[in-house]
């Protein structure tokens, strides 16, 4: 009787345990895989709830470099000095995770970033100086004179606050001043939970903002040989390669980040995206940047990874010719408006007369496009989207100016 009972008991227990194993095995892979080491690093407790709510962020995190380096959610989300606190399920978190949190570990990158045009000048280009402290203004002005100590953007003001928030600031928030005293958002390029270097190296990431008629870098890149090669050979690139040891074997084809930021084969890595630039191409009349020689030399050194020196020099010479020629064409067109204004035939206010919009389109769209096209190998953008438009709009402006003057004569 004893043996029979023990035998029956063991059979029942084994059946129960086996059923439990089988049910557990039948669960979706995604739930069984939940507590991989990456998940555990993600937690403490976070992933257990966030897999039910906002599950994608946990998965994004688990694939990130941060996860493989044992960084937990809390290390990025904890409240630092000066940050507004948020009590959440027993944790004291930062209400907003900002560049300050990233700078705990990535201090050099943050310091470089705030020196760049992506820092305070990006935000001030829309809202002006009002959101910045005196120290922040002084710091930014050292590197980008008149870029922060300025008024708000007139066009943005005319278009109104709704447009400003969802439109202009959608991109310009990359340099937003945060309430904790830091500036900007690293996640604009790296994404939040992926915290991805590979993502930041993709041209599409830069193209979130650097696209469209006013700065059509993505379109120019796609048309250029660089872009065509990238489209065809992307699968051969090692976009996630360690920035410190990045070689042309990893990135045999350049993306925006390769030329403007990377430490390709011993170059200095920089998060100051303006460091290797030599001209203020975005201005109506482009001038040389204060670090013209250093910037151009640094960029040329990158070019030399793929191109012969003679080719690089020729490329720069031709591009600068386009810049100088464009400056002349733009200046002529802008003179038409300034002469009219001088003669009292236009109001002093911007954006209230049709000819001002044509003038704005001329330098802001056609002029910039021609110059960017010349420096980025975009032939079509130098010609049809650039110089052809410059000519067309100049003729239109001359006709409009003549009409304004004759109308004024008739009145008098």
């Amino acid at each position: 009787m004893t043996f029979k009972n023990v035998f029956i008991s063991i059979i029942i227990a084994t059946t129960m345990i086996l059923s439990a194993f089988l049910i557990h095995r039948a669960r979706p892979e995604i739930e069984l895989a939940q507590p991989s080491p990456e998940y555990i690093r993600a937690t403490g407790k976070c992933a257990s709830c966030h897999l039910k709510e906002t599950s994608a962020i946990v998965h994004q995190y688990s694939m990130s470099k941060h996860a493989s380096e044992n960084i937990t959610c809390y290390e990025c989300h904890r409240a630092l000095d000066g940050q507004e606190e948020l009590g959440h399920k027993g944790f004291t978190l930062a209400k907003n995770v900002t560049a300050l949190n990233c700078s705990q570990c990535h201090t050099t990158e943050y310091d470089q970033f705030i020196r760049s045009r992506h820092g305070a000048p990006a935000w001030a280009a829309v809202t002006g100086r009002s959101d910045f402290t005196e120290e922040q203004i002084a710091f930014a002005e050292k590197f980008h004179p008149k870029s922060v100590n300025r008024g708000e953007n007139k066009l943005a003001v005319i278009e109104g606050p709704g447009v400003m928030e969802k439109g202009c600031l959608g991109c310009h928030a990359v340099g937003k001043p945060n309430s904790d005293g830091s500036i900007g958002s690293c996640t604009a390029c790296h994404a939040r939970h992926s915290a991805s270097v590979a993502l930041a190296r993709q041209p599409e990431t830069c193209g979130q903002c650097h696209m469209g008629p006013d700065h059509s870098q993505l379109e120019i890149y796609n048309e250029s040989k660089h872009g065509v090669l990238y489209a065809l050979q992307k699968s051969h690139l090692n976009l996630g390669a360690d920035p410190k040891t990045l070689s042309t074997k990893d990135m045999s084809v350049p993306t925006c980040a390769t030329c403007h930021m990377s430490g390709l084969e011993g170059m200095n890595i920089t998060h100051d995206v303006t460091e290797r630039l030599s001209w203020w191409l975005f201005s109506p009349i482009s001038k040389k940047r204060p670090n013209y020689n250093l910037g151009q030399e640094a960029m040329k050194n990158i070019c030399l990874k793929c191109h012969a020196k003679t080719h690089v020099e020729k490329f720069y010479r031709e591009a600068e010719e386009v810049v100088i020629a464009t400056n002349g064409k733009v200046q002529n067109a802008l003179n038409i408006v300034s002469d009219l204004r001088k003669d009292g035939l236009l109001t002093p206010e911007p954006f209230d007369e049709p000819i001002e919009f044509i003038a704005f389109d001329l330098w802001h769209y056609a002029g910039r496009t021609a110059k960017h096209g010349a420096f980025m190998g975009g032939a079509d953008f130098v010609q049809w989207h650039g110089n052809y438009e410059l000519l067309l709009k100049t003729i239109e402006m001359e006709e409009m100016a003549e009409a304004i003057r004759s109308k004024s004569h008739q009145k008098n």
Partner: protein, 269 residues
Amino acid sequence: MSKLLRPTPLLIDFFIIINLSFLVIDIYVAHSTNDFSHYAEWIPFYFSLIAPILLSVEMWLNWNVNKPSNYFLSFLVGGLAILIGISGLIWHLHSTFFEYQTLRSLVYTAPFIAPLAYTGIGALLVMNRMVDCETIEWGQWLIFFGFGGFIGNFILSLSDHAQNGFFIFYEWVPVISSAFAVSFLGVILLRNSTIRFIDVSIWIMIIQIIIGLIGLFFHSQTILNNPMSSFFETIIYNAPIFAPLLFVNLAVLAILGLIDIRFKIEMNL
């Protein structure tokens, strides 16, 4: 076996009072995870607070009575406990299970078996009043409650540890051990058993006690290694600290039943 070791209804009453009192802390911690977001979550808390007092009053009133018959408070507490347990079960499942009816929703719902602790305690109390402790039936009922509890332990340890995908292999240990507890107690209830088999079952229960205490150690380790802002929050938002003690608790109840039955078999009652 010595007559002194034989369990009595009074011992079971103490067992019930201790359990209800402990539930005050347990419910407070458990429902604090969502800040007692619904007023009904306070019902089991206040019930657990008042019920032991009522039972103690009744025990005191009946203390010197030869044949106590004033059991109104026991039946009241027992009946309410059964009701609270069943309502709690439905309420807990309602959170997501009734919405999706998937294995996932069952795993990640509020611990749906947990409220049945009240039903079990309530039914144990009623049984203790209605069944004569001199009959073999009384001991069998104790084993039955232990058996039911271990079914709960099996499901809870399975679904709770499934939440983290049995990340550490020894999270399977309570599932395996409770399966053995269920099977051995089940066989005793359904088949004639020898004293040797009862002794084996008592050892199986002693193993449950050891596993419960080891579980308490591991659960407390997760509390000691967490970056919460306060100790209370560390307890709330961590591995359920008291859950492994259910193994100890139910094993003790089952052992009382097993000893009672063993005694009665020895005495040929």
